[in-house]
Symmetry: D3
Subunit: 68 residues, 6 copies
């Protein structure tokens, strides 16, 4: 414990950024809930843009509109 799942869109998250997220979330759980880093697991899922929708539209369509 704890187990944290971070889902983000698959837009080139670097290894360094993933390491920062893993360290940042672990430190937060130590600070707020005094959890043991050794049993704190963090999994990052990277979701293709066409597989993530909000406001009834896939993200790749949102992105295309934004850059149109």
């Amino acid at each position: 414990m704890p187990y944290v799942n971070i889902k983000v869109t698959d837009e080139g998250v670097t290894r360094e950024q993933k390491a920062k997220l893993i360290k940042g979330v672990t430190d937060l759980l130590v600070d707020v809930l005094n959890k043991d880093p050794k049993t704190t697991h963090i999994v990052i899922d990277e979701v293709p843009l066409e597989n993530w929708g909000f406001d009834a539209i896939p993200t790749d369509v949102h992105r295309a509109k934004q850059s149109a």
Copy 2:
């Protein structure tokens, strides 16, 4: 809110089909629960056949039996 995760087997779901699923689930949540599309997130996960099992057997084995 809401957050909806749709897991299907990885069998060639097209972008258009994904867009229909995203729109259809969003519309349903508007109709039934009056949710705001802007804060309704939908994530589609496509799972390899050998990674999804039911009736104690992986799906790729089921498929092979069906087409035998």
Copy 3:
């Protein structure tokens, strides 16, 4: 297959509304992906307001601001 998880805030979703969500998502998966209703599973999770945050604030705090 498929498996769909719907997470909504715990704000009094009725049995009838849950039944409509279950039927609506199942019908959508039949229409779009020709999935078999018999192997289509839908799970609805109802999350306490203080356990769901967006824009850096728990939903119960958002609700209190809205009704202030």
Copy 4:
């Protein structure tokens, strides 16, 4: 986007602690990935001790051993 799910054992996490987790994770995603807080959703699940196992044993049994 993003969507973050934090699972912890159900051991009296207070509203203030939940608010700190929500703010802390949101700030981290802004700092590391420049994500928009408005579309960043965080859901905290609190799991009964007997429902969470590690090292082949439920957590309530671990706790009992620790305090024995």
Copy 5:
């Protein structure tokens, strides 16, 4: 690693049964993948019958039909 989530309907699973599931899944992961029990986490979620649907109908409705 690994992390295993078991979702079942909320139909009176006992502590002993939960302990058996936790031990059984952990042993299986040792046998098949040689995983370390100490870092193997198992979470059991118990879902209300009206919140779990299959074949387009909530489970409590299925149960009522079966016992009619």
Copy 6:
């Protein structure tokens, strides 16, 4: 019902091992909870090492330290 999600690191799990996990978990749910294998679904997710962290560090970094 039930639905089981097994998350492991992406380190070359073979088809045979996946089939053993699927069968083993299904048999366990039959033995302990008398569940119907036909409606028992199991999904295996394989997570890249840099996407899974514990003890505040990504697994690929842990592995590198172990083999240093």
